[in-house]
């Protein structure tokens, strides 16, 4: 019987819940390993955070969620599946950050010496301090943080012992103890530069004063100067991964919300969709959703061990979310030249930071956000169509967005209009005739993020808070951080599992490897070179 409609009963080896970057990466590897995989996605489009949609309807597209891609140089699926070229192209703007802090303009590029040339305006010593900082952080990232993204986490004792083997490792341990602010404070940097770096390190949800989060600084500073956009929109990465899955016989079903993960004799054996279709999984189920949704909402309580359920209940969602204001514009915004610093005629940076006066200002702003207050309007801006002509379907017109950390618990209904007016006023002071050029405005606040992607509970862009209790070996808890859960056949593969959120691919990659290891299936690719080097250096006797 030819299948004219998707069947109510079907069977596959592996079901992956959620077609965000992590679900797709896991599915791509598992299909390549020879498994029959079915990915089920709740929305009408796959991609999760990789969304490029016509929200400025009609004619203007925007990357509703992820726009800045920090890890494209490392993401294993890009090289393993040769994704680049086949309609997928990354574009790394030279100017990465242009921050207006008080009267200063801090311009950072993806070439260290160019950044240093611009920073030397604040004094030659500043260029040197910055150079030293970047060199130190780059080592930590290249040798440790980047490769460790694609390996399961280690218990703290083991990690300390392993990292103790090299100087860079020792340094990494030292950095990790500190808070982002402490770490940056240890450098004699001009305040405007420090404010810029602190924002870059903390904008996605880290408190500057939180100890034990220092490692985020090297990661987000060095990668923050290597951000890429995806030509044609972030969604292209999802499409490229989907193609890998489909070409290898995998299935992707959209408009299909999973309402239950089924178990039999303590083993996860499939899912049920909202319309009642049951998909049986012979090998296992991978959930890219947060632990609370996975273990509490979708599973029969009797099938979940008490300590897992308890840990899931205690899961803390992101301490803040984001507010994005998307614009369709009748022209490209032109930055008003900052004469005081003579920074005229620099190419548009990928990210422009606006609204802060000082490092203290950044700290108090974020402290306010954490408390649920928006003390001022400040954040980052990108004119996406300046780098990607396809986002505007009308010639000469542009799309841009302003984004800032924002609390979930906030009177969005009452306050949003005022805040958006302030955003436009801020942009108008920095871009020629900005307010007059606005054709259409669409606002995505933490609540609307949750409406589009309910798995981003409370607008959690990382599916769960970044704090020392929820990072590393603890993400989401010690039982599950390897991606394998105490429930046989059930794996976690989303941003809530180590190493965490953003489009970094670690959770999906690690989960796919874990399934292969558990089923004694050969993983079809070698580790990337940097991971091999990391393993050889820090785990010469092998890793658990």
């Amino acid at each position: 019987m030819p299948q004219v409609e998707f069947p109510t009963q079907s069977e596959t080896d592996i079901v992956v819940i959620g077609a965000g970057p992590n679900g797709l990466i896991a599915a791509a590897y598992l299909t390549a390993a020879g498994f029959e995989v079915t990915v089920v996605e709740r929305r009408y489009e796959i991609g999760g955070g990789l969304a490029t949609e016509e929200i400025l309807f009609p004619h203007h597209y925007a990357n509703t969620h992820a726009s800045y891609h920090f890890m494209v140089d490392y993401l294993p699926p890009i090289s393993d599946f040769h994704l680049e070229g086949e309609g997928l192209r990354f574009h790394k703007p030279h100017g990465q950050m242009g921050a207006v802090v008080g009267d200063d303009y801090v311009y950072l590029t993806n070439k260290l010496e160019d950044s240093r040339d611009y920073l030397a305006r604040f004094g030659l010593d500043q260029a040197d301090v910055f150079g030293n900082l970047v060199q130190r952080f780059t080592k930590i990232v290249e040798d440790i943080l980047a490769p460790a993204t694609y390996l399961p986490p280690d218990p703290p004792v083991d990690l300390i012992e392993a990292l103790g083997r090299t100087q860079v490792g020792e340094d990494m341990l030292e950095v990790s103890e500190q808070s982002a602010l402490e770490l940056l404070d240890s450098y004699p940097l001009a305040d405007s530069i420090k404010a810029t770096l602190l924002y870059m390190a903390c904008q996605w949800g880290v408190m500057p004063t939180e100890s034990g989060m220092g490692f985020i600084v090297p990661l987000l500073l060095t990668r923050g100067m290597e951000k890429a956009c995806i030509y044609g929109g972030s969604h292209r990465l999802a499409s490229a991964l989907a193609r890998v899955i489909l070409q290898r016989g995998g299935l992707i079903i959209d408009n299909a919300e999973v309402t239950e993960i089924t178990t039999e004799d303590g083993r996860a054996n499939g899912v049920v969709l909202e319309d009642g279709q049951a998909i049986t999984a012979r090998v296992g189920v991978l959930s890219s959703l947060d632990p609370k949704t996975t273990f509490v909402k979708l599973m029969d309580p009797a099938a979940v061990p008490a300590e897992v359920a308890q840990a899931a209940e205690g899961w803390a969602f992101d301490k803040w979310s984001l507010l994005s204001v998307f614009f369709a514009l009748d022209r490209k915004p032109t930055f008003k030249a900052n004469d005081a610093n003579g920074m005229i005629g620099l190419p548009d940076p990928f990210m422009t930071l606006l609204g802060f006066d000082s490092t203290d200002d950044v700290v108090s702003f974020l402290t306010g956000i954490e408390r649920g207050e928006i003390t001022k309007v400040a954040g980052h801006f990108t004119c996406e169509s300046a780098f990607d002509p396809f986002l505007s379907q009308k010639q000469g017109e542009h799309v841009a967005f302003f984004q800032m950390p924002a609390p979930y618990d906030f009177d969005w209904e009452g306050e949003q209009d005022r805040i958006v007016a302030e955003v436009i006023a801020l942009l108008d002071t920095h871009f020629e005739g900005f307010a007059a050029s606005v054709l259409d405005t669409v606002v995505e606040n933490p609540k609307t993020i949750e409406q589009r992607l309910p798995n981003m509970v409370r607008g959690s862009i990382k599916h769960g808070d970044y704090n020392p209790l929820q990072m590393g070996y603890n993400r989401p808890n010690t039982e599950c951080s390897s991606t394998k859960t105490p429930i046989e056949g059930l794996y976690l593969c989303g941003a809530s599992v180590f190493p965490g959120g953003m489009v970094i691919g670690g959770p999906g990659y690690n989960a796919a490897r874990m399934v292969c290891a558990d089923t004694e299936t050969k993983f079809p690719f070698d580790y990337p070179l940097n991971v091999k080097r990391y393993l050889a250096t820090y785990f010469p006797e092998g890793k658990e």
Binding site: A32, R236, L391, F525
Partner: protein, 591 residues
């Protein structure tokens, strides 16, 4: 170093062509057996057919998304709207089973509670097109006794042969005009003659309107049938189009007399088509506008894509053929200069775009519209209907649109407005909140180029038209006060035209479906068999027979032609393929 560079260049990736792992590197081909320009439903379907048949296929789509007229957007969180198509009429398509779209996730959802509303809030009648099995039902609708008898007999005979009738009409390649096949010899006419009890040959010249009059169909059913035709293809007043215009109505009620939407919206169908194609090895690239179809010595050998495309290769070669999923009016600009005679180009210029320009309104509402005069149809609340189904009004609207070349400004001319409530039967469309729905209301307006006040006239009138539509809905569903409307998204023909280069004239069906521009004449007699004057260049767009709607019919028909033209196609005929039983090959036809 140089050697390494060469390897990289050859690989076209800038990466060493050395395998890491055994993940099966796809060859970096810039040449395929077939290149399909355009990723609309017809382009995706032909790609799926060819890929499943075993050919290498590449689809190049200009927009950031595949799907053409089958797209969805979520302009506010949780609500998915269809800017263009929303009803699925292709349930009888051979392609659904040949390509096994269900395997790729495709599901449909019938919209129950369908009826045709009389003017100004009047109850009208239930649309039971295929469910009428007693004289009484006809009499209840206002037929006189003789017409009721005729209607019932016709209905019963047709029911038994409906799939066959529709396949002969849609899923059969048109015959070459040079064969001189008489009109009454066409398979759909033959079947119609057999099922219609009062056939006489003069019906071949009739318009649907004339035929309905003859049948004694009363309003609002009469107007419902007319708007069905206007909204789905052959205009009810176009001469000689009674049978095809009747046929489109039957497409709509194919499944239990109910309109059907794909679960998740029309784009879900495009996804299933694309996934089928990809699973069978096709490559689909978006953001890749084709800027030229390359022709040498009268033979198409590939396409060039716009320099902005994300593809590394800007020239994509086609070893066997280039297939255009584009409006026939795009041909002269796209194909290498000098490939067509001025005469031929003139004929293309002369093709009319009238007949298919829709003003699409999508409302997000926070309450289910309750139709006061019709609480229930067959035990279900109304979810789909035609508002103001009143023939005199509809005739006024037709004159506004086609004769006076303007959108209606008199509220009394807003007739035959299509209405569907998404979310009542498919919750995946309205995840934003319980009790919220997406309504689609479609009104006929002139093609932008034809509007007497210029191509932007309808866009300028957006607010007024929306206000009238809302007021009209309130006449039926008084609970729909202004506060029930959460958001409004309008897509005008002008907007369609901007978002999709193939929607020339914003025309949803491509171009006029009149007798001179239909079947063996569509879009021109010399193009009717999907071939073009350029060898290896084929048309696969709704401007070819059988025209608009997402039916997977143009590609199915085209497969017959490719089967004739390419030995590579005919010698590998797979077991899942079956041709139309009425297909006549060129060899047979020429005899």
């Amino acid at each position: 170093m140089i050697a390494e560079q060469r390897i990289q260049d050859a690989a076209g990736t800038g990466r060493p062509a050395v395998e890491v792992g055994n993940g099966g590197r796809m060859p970096r081909r810039s040449s395929y057996d077939f290149v399909v320009a355009g990723g609309g439903p017809n382009g995706l379907t032909i790609a799926a057919y060819l890929a499943k048949w075993g050919f290498s296929v590449c689809v190049l789509e200009a927009r950031p998304e595949i799907g053409g007229g089958a797209e969805n957007v979520e302009p506010i969180p949780g609500y998915s709207v269809d800017p263009h198509a929303c009803f699925f009429y292709g349930r009888g398509a051979p392609g659904l089973e040949q390509l096994e779209l269900g395997k790729y996730g495709f599901r449909t959802s019938p919209a129950p509670g369908n009826f045709i509303a009389g003017p100004s809030g009047a109850a009208g009648g239930a649309d039971r097109s295929m469910k009428m099995d007693s004289i009484d039902q006809f009499l209840e609708m206002g037929f006189d006794v003789d017409s009721a008898k005729l209607g019932l007999e016709f209905q019963q005979k047709l029911k038994a042969r409906l799939p066959e009738f529709l396949r002969s009409l849609y899923w059969t390649p048109p015959y070459d005009h040079r064969w001189g096949v008489a009109r009454e010899e066409h398979p759909s006419v033959k079947i119609f003659k057999e099922v219609f009890p009062a056939w006489d040959d003069s019906m071949l010249d009739m318009s649907l309107y004339e035929w309905i009059e003859l049948m004694g169909v009363p309003d609002p059913q009469k107007c419902g049938m007319m708007i069905n035709a206007w909204g789905n293809g052959p205009h009810p007043c176009w001469k000689g189009m009674a049978i095809p215009a009747f046929g489109v109505g039957e497409l709509m009620s194919y499944v239990d007399g109910m309109p059907v939407t794909p679960v998740g919206g029309m784009h879900a169908l495009a996804h299933a088509m694309a996934r089928c194609a990809i699973a069978n090895g096709a490559k689909i690239f978006v953001n890749s506008p084709v800027s030229e179809v390359l022709v040498e010595d009268g033979q198409a050998y590939g396409v060039r894509v716009d320099d902005n495309s994300a593809l590394q290769e800007k020239t994509i070669r086609a070893n066997l053929g280039v297939i255009l999923n584009m409006h026939v009016k795009q041909l002269p600009e796209l194909v290498t200069r000098g490939s067509f005679t001025p005469d031929f180009i003139q004929k293309i210029d002369n093709l009319s775009l009238k007949g298919g320009s829709l003003f699409v309104t999508n409302f997000v509402v926070n309450e289910f519209p309750r139709f006061a005069a019709v609480p229930e149809i067959d035990g279900r609340p109304v979810t789909s209907t035609v508002l103001n189904a009143d023939t005199p009004r509809l005739l006024e609207l037709m004159r506004d649109v086609h004769s006076f070349r303007t959108h209606p400004t008199d509220p009394d001319h807003f007739a035959g407005v299509w209405y569907i409530c998404h979310g009542a039967h498919d919750r995946s469309r309205v995840r934003g909140g319980n009790g919220n729905y997406v309504l689609t209301l479609n009104l006929q307006v002139p093609a932008p180029e034809d509007h007497r006040d210029g191509p932007d006239a309808v866009n300028r009138a957006k607010d007024e038209i929306v206000a009238t539509l809302k007021a009209q809905l309130r006449e039926y569903a008084p609970n729909m006060t202004e506060d029930k409307f959460v958001a409004t998204f309008v897509n005008t023909p002008r907007d369609s035209e901007i978002r999709n280069m193939a929607f020339v004239g914003g025309n949803w069906m491509g171009m006029r479906e009149s007798e001179q521009e239909w079947g063996q004449n569509k879009p021109l007699p010399e193009l009717a068999r999907y071939r073009t004057p350029v060898d290896g260049l084929y048309l696969c767009h709704q401007t070819s027979h059988p025209g608009g709607l997402v039916l997977m019919a143009v590609p199915y028909n085209l497969m017959h032609i490719l089967h004739e033209d390419y030995e590579a196609v005919s010698k590998t005929t797979p077991d899942w393929w079956y041709p139309s039983p009425w297909h006549i090959t060129d060899k047979e036809g020429a005899r």
